[in-house]
Amino acid sequence: MEADETIYDVAVVGAGVAGCFAARELARFDLRTVVLEAGNDIALGATRANSGIVHAGYDPKPGSAKARYNVRGSRMFPQLAQELCIPYWQNGSLVVAYSDDELQEVQALVDRAAENGVEGVREIGRDELLALEPNVSPQAVGALLAETGAICDPYHAALGAAENAVQNGVEFRFEARVETIVREDDSTYTLGLEGGARLRARTVVNAAGLFADELNNQVSSRKLTITPRRGEYCLYDTNLGGIFHHTMFQAPTAKGKGVLVTPTIHGNLIVGPNAIPQHSKTEAPTTEEGLEQIIADAKKTWPDASTWGIITNFAGLRASGDTGDFVLGEAPDAPGFFNIACFESPGLTSAPAVAVDTAQWVASYLGAAQRRDFDPRRTAKPLFVMMDDGQREAAIAADPAEGHVVCRCCQVSEADIVAALHGPLPVLSLDALKWRTGAMMGRCHGGFCSPELLHIFVRETGLDPTEVPKKGRGSYMVAQARPDYRQLAQAEPSAAEAFGSCDTLSEPYDVVVVGGGAAGIAAANAAAEAGAPQVLLIDRERALGGILKQCIHSGFGLHRFKEELTGPEYARREAAELHQNVQVMLEASVLRVDSAADGACHQVVVVDPAGQQKVKAHAVVLATGSRERGAGSMNIPGTRPAGVYSAGSAQNFVNLQGCLPGQKVVIQGTGDVGLIMARRLVLQGADVVAVYGTSAWPAGLRRNVVQCLEDYGIPLYLGKTISRLEGDDRLEAVWVSDAEPGTRKPIPGTEQRVECDTLLLSIGLLPENEVALSAGVELDPVTGGAYVDDRLQTNVPGIFACGNALHVHDLVDFASAEGDRAGACAAAYAEDRQVHETRDSIPLAAGSGVRYVMPHRLSAATLSSSDDARRIEVLFRVRKPLTKPTFLLEGICADGERRTIRRRKARIAVPAEMESMKFALSDLEGIVALELSAQEGSDE
């Protein structure tokens, strides 16, 4: 066996928050320290799947180690956050009572806080509570307020400590699982690693989390027993992060501690955890019952809690001992062996204080002196998203890669990614990159950025794409890539290096179009053609065309060009015919739009590798497209292996990177992208096992069902849903259940296992409207897009919306047509800048059988136009398939009387195909509101 001759002073086992802080404190002493981590990243256990709360300290039993270290740790955090660049926010905690009995519990906790020496804790009444948290359930009667309660990013707490330890000379070894430990006659310890290597150390710090008992029990007769207790969570989108300001606990009851609802440091909202004892120390799947329970329990605090807005669910395992307290310090019969064991909540808060004491004990045991050259400050590049406007400008001037935003949801720059890949600790997986930078953590689940991230990962590390794990070893991100991918990626200039700045901007622009996909190109062109002298079209990518660029199949353009084109051909044709008054700004990301009132100029805040600019515009057209619904929106329980892709993300990997995501593929969802990808993957040599859809009818076009599935013998099963994922590192199987009609939930007892290594989700698109929200645009919860009038103007005068950002279209031709209209109307607005009163408009509502109608109202400008014969077109979708339907547009008069404006019959209507209806303005005499409905027809 290979033996390492070095004798370390300290071997820290485990790189969770306990091990990382211990390493950092040990670095203060003249000691040779190594951290041995079984996995391929820090914080893979309880630290990662954690609530992220820095507890004030009112909860632990007085006199316990938990109480002491919690209070000390909590006090250390503000300074540590500064020194180690840990995202940390003292938002305060509330423990809310919902009955008089619970109020007594709350009062007992207030007393306990005093006993534990926690400052800033007091009882507050219902009125003060409601003033602090207006969204809390009205059932609340009072609460404990702990002002020093805080939230942090637990991964970054561990990372900050670990990187600072490395900067001060500590060594980290990954994929170094300690299997055996023996105390030798010379009082040193020999640690046997998985794979056969051995390592010697004078002392051991046991921070092995769930496995700390097994390690302790090899050297000490004081046996420990750790029981894993699983805690499940639901993580919500950042647009729900503002529901609560404080961390909202529930008062303890006979049933338990309840669940918490809290904002996270990154602006999301998190709900959980439950506490379920289990045997396995390695598996932490979520379960359907568990997720339902935490959402049900969360309603006590947050009555609106539901699955809506969930980005993902996850579970973690707590390392619970049998005494109810931490087990710390030297084992009584194993000198030099120091435990940080049974380190459950409040472990995160306590870790810094426990680390100080542990390091002191180790140093005393070894007689080590303090180092004079210890530097407590971690040097880390601030993340792009944390910078203010001024810092961004300076950062981009220093490094153009700061101006290339790779992850749009979480605003992660290429410089963030490169810095992480070359940081003090190695990045050994895409997940390690995700946790360090935030890339792929947003609402698109990495659907947009994971292909580019893989590309950068390969370029910077020199690994072959098939060797880059998503998480653990064997969790490959792509199964196949061209043999020379790595050489080509390394030879290519980075996006920032390749950047060619656009011509000088000449502000103010009449119209700025955000997004250069089909709708945006059309809008820019139409605005120029309508007479706008200065139009700017901004896109984040290197070429115009948006998602069309990866849609290499044909079927586009039959309406617009009377010719069947592929996606790249359609994009090329549109971009080739740009009007001379349209200026194009590529590789530029719009971060927000600062809207102005009273016809003043809006400001479009945009970054590119040349810098950050605030571009003035009279009118703005938002053509920001859509994103795919991801796994989170289905809230699928089970494990979280690699191999789950949105269909469009897989399409990018295949068609734009030449990579095959997997070999044995299951597709959930019958949307067109999924059907098209089924065919593509079969043609690239993969085995597509089946396509499952929850509805009784396919969401995609009939032509695609026949030509993408039937042609290749791929089975299509309707009324089925994925009810569970299986596999730790890479997906090994999905479980498929019958879906309950209506709710589409899995029916218990119908589960079947389907082996596969890849799951593609094609479960719909959602308009992408972050920029719209930044401008104060109001969104329709049904479409996910803006409320607009017939000129496609939003509630903010001068801001228009079109394409998939407004509502999801079936055909790109229609998105282009909508862009034409938005562009022309924006140009007209830019010319006269006349703001009309909304109250003079006529609202248009969806009646029975209709899911939505576009537009939402007829503008006062249109209604007052002299052209009475002008025809208005309304678009709508039915709720469910209807045979021989009758569509009915009714006008409602001031006295409430209804009048038929237009009636039309059709052969069939399905939700997947948009319908339209036209009427003349002259039909609206005396009408104050409109409603469109659809009814199933009879055979007569």
Binding site: H455, R482, Y485, L488, A489, E492, K549, I552, H553, S554, E564, T566, P568, E569, R572, V654, N655, L656, Q657, G658, L683, L701, R702, R703, V705, V706, Q707, E710, D711, P881, R907, I908, A909, V910, A912, E913
Partner: protein
């Protein structure tokens, strides 16, 4: 013996199941189940000579970004896999312009493969 085959019409969401009677000499006999002229036209082609447009991509020497390509006209359905094989085996060098023919007469179909984008 005449043979009856069923087809699902792809022209609209109705998805009519259309039965076609194929005579011994390969000609079409009766057509039933369609509800419009488009359906009839569809099965007249689909029953005798089903064809598909096929698109794919080719890795180009020295370019990380693949080149997207398509058949210049629909090819016989039975030839799809064979055409895919020859497309995959193509060795191409930049520059290539959208619309360039990258392969004449793919797999004996008489139909060319053309680039659908440009690579410099």
């Amino acid at each position: 013996m005449a043979e009856t085959r069923s087809f699902t019409c792809v022209n609209c969401p109705l998805g009519c199941v259309i039965d076609v009677q194929l005579e011994d000499d390969g000609t079409i006999g009766s057509i039933t189940g369609h509800t419009c002229k488009l359906g009839e036209d569809y099965v007249r082609q689909e029953a005798v000579d089903p064809r598909r447009n096929v698109s794919s991509f080719v890795c180009v020497e020295g370019c990380l970004e693949p080149l997207s390509v398509k058949t210049a006209a629909p090819i016989p359905k039975a030839k799809i896999r064979e055409v895919m094989e020859v497309v995959r085996a193509l060795k191409l060098h930049p520059p290539i312009q959208a619309g360039d023919t990258v392969l004449e007469n793919a797999a004996g179909t008489g139909i060319a493969i053309v680039a659908t984008k440009s690579l410099d």
